[in-house]
Subunit: 82 residues, 2 copies
């Protein structure tokens, strides 16, 4: 089963990387770009066949390793196609 | 208009960061995790009101700054809700 995890900074947490992108876009002449936030996307294959199990395991992975839940939110998407 | 850009490594491009995550998950006891790939997600607000214009501008931003199109693919999602 394929899964994608989206990890983004919580609202209110400063995002210097996003700010740098915003400034760079401005310097390149792209106007009207605002509130740039950079996050992470992690794609992976899981051996699980049960969607609920897979989701539980992915949540545990996010909490233990992938996301810093103090400052980051995560969102899990399962592609059950397989 | 809000937009999200997903940037991922092309197939065949080595992803040492993904590999590191895969190994770390294995060491934490998460089994059956494979093909971990790490990508980026960029969220931003655009002043554009026309979806086609916005998409063109975002493509230009990806090609000029946000993505390295030699080794990365990008995918643009517009949230027209606003």
């Amino acid at each position: 089963m394929k899964a994608t995890i989206y990890i983004s900074l919580k609202n209110g947490v400063l995002d210097p990387q996003g700010k740098a992108i915003e400034n760079a876009l401005g310097q390149l002449g792209f106007e009207g770009v605002d509130n740039v936030r950079q996050g992470k996307m992690i794609e992976l294959d899981l051996a699980d066949t049960d969607a609920a199990d897979a989701r539980n395991r992915l949540e545990a992975m996010c909490e233990k390793l992938l996301a810093n839940t103090v400052i980051e939110n995560f969102e899990i998407h399962l592609n059950d196609a397989e």
